[in-house]
Symmetry: C2
Subunit: 199 residues, 2 copies
DNA sequence: TTATTGAATGAATATATACTCATTATAAAA
DNA sequence: TTTTATAATGAGTATATATTCATTCAATAA
């Protein structure tokens, strides 16, 4: 008789993963409108028909990916609000960004995707803006703590949080713009935006 | 008899300006593919037909704007390569960004537009990437000078140039994402990425 | 071998949007 | 008031792309 439930399940899971991986790359690179379903299918190595067996519309696929990204960002907020030393949190965070951007691009694609979602005005736009605001507030709080401990520069915490996060965002954008000419700043350079210089 | 040459000329100029202003805003905000010619016409307060009297295609309009932006960036490169003190150049540059981003958004739209051009793979993509690379190199050279004068932080100049420019880029992106929640960092915060702390 | 089940395909269709062009509006001067 | 040159309009057409669905494929076990 035919394949078992488990076998079919595994097949479906595999194609969904191929679709998601292809879509996240293309959406982050070219944006929602400029990415065709044929592009996604080609990149995933499947047919358009199969894509539509898994997602009702292109927008549904986009929204799923964005929601996943929002979830990741919320997890990040939890890390930032933990009791670990502010300096350590930032170091850990920046190291992860650094590793990601010199390798897989997962995190930076996530951020880019969320940016696209804001511009693209779909059902998830509001959620993204809220997640962004939440992340910013948590960084702001972290900076206040760090300043009290004398670990961070003085200055308006909200401004510093914006500048710090903007830099991360901007690095993703620049990397896409410059391709092979892009030179990734070291974690030490990036953390310098917040950290007090050693004395 | 009908209007004079000059009157017609003035009319055409006025509509071209309306089109450009509308297009630059929309392209920067939503990207090339997601911006419809109807959107542009509506924003400009004219008809689609009139738009096509001035531009053969949507892409021609986009390319013209991007080329204008590239020209602006090249002018910036000239400022950066001048003999003025590195610290003064950066201060002047950052002040201009600050004023722009708290008011008109012209410069930040320009940068965003160029980014879009990189993603969108049109005739101007190559020019933009070259202009970006040139700007980065000029900043890198400026940083080397500034380090020799003891005005700037130590550290790899190429990395610092990338981080600095990324921050500017990222601020534009964040501003669009956060809208009214966006808090613009002060010029002092931004220049701190490069400047040695006063002793 | 063959029957069976669901994955996979891609040409056909629906829909959205870039572009055209026949027509109208406008202001100046005869 | 009429003529004239050119700006301005927007419904209509062409084209591109999202979505559907009738058909084929592939692995299993009887």
């Amino acid at each position: 008789m035919p394949r078992t439930k488990e076998q079919y399940e595994a097949m479906r899971e595999a194609t969904v993963e191929k679709i998601q991986s292809a879509a996240i790359t293309l959406f982050a690179q070219k944006g929602f409108a400029a990415t065709g379903v044929q592009d996604i299918a080609d990149e995933a190595g499947i047919s358009v028909g199969l894509l539509y067996r898994h997602y009702k519309t292109k927008e549904e696929l986009f929204n799923e990916l964005v929601n996943y990204a929002v979830g990741g960002l919320n997890a990040l907020v939890n890390l930032i609000m933990s009791d670990i030393q502010p300096r350590e949190i930032i170091e850990q965070f920046v190291n992860e960004i650094y590793n990601d951007m010199t390798n897989s691009m997962d995190f930076s694609n996530m951020l880019t995707l969320m940016t696209q979602a804001v511009y693209t005005n779909t059902a998830v736009t509001q959620r993204v803006m809220e997640a962004d605001a939440r992340l910013l507030t948590s960084i702001e709080t972290l900076i206040k703590k760090g300043q009290q401990l004398g670990q961070f520069h003085p200055g308006d915490p909200a401004e510093m949080a914006t500048l710090f996060l903007s830099s991360i965002q901007g690095l993703g954008v620049m990397r896409a713009a410059l391709r092979e000419h892009f030179i990734m700043p070291s974690p030490e350079q990036i953390t310098k935006i917040l950290f007090q210089r050693e004395i």
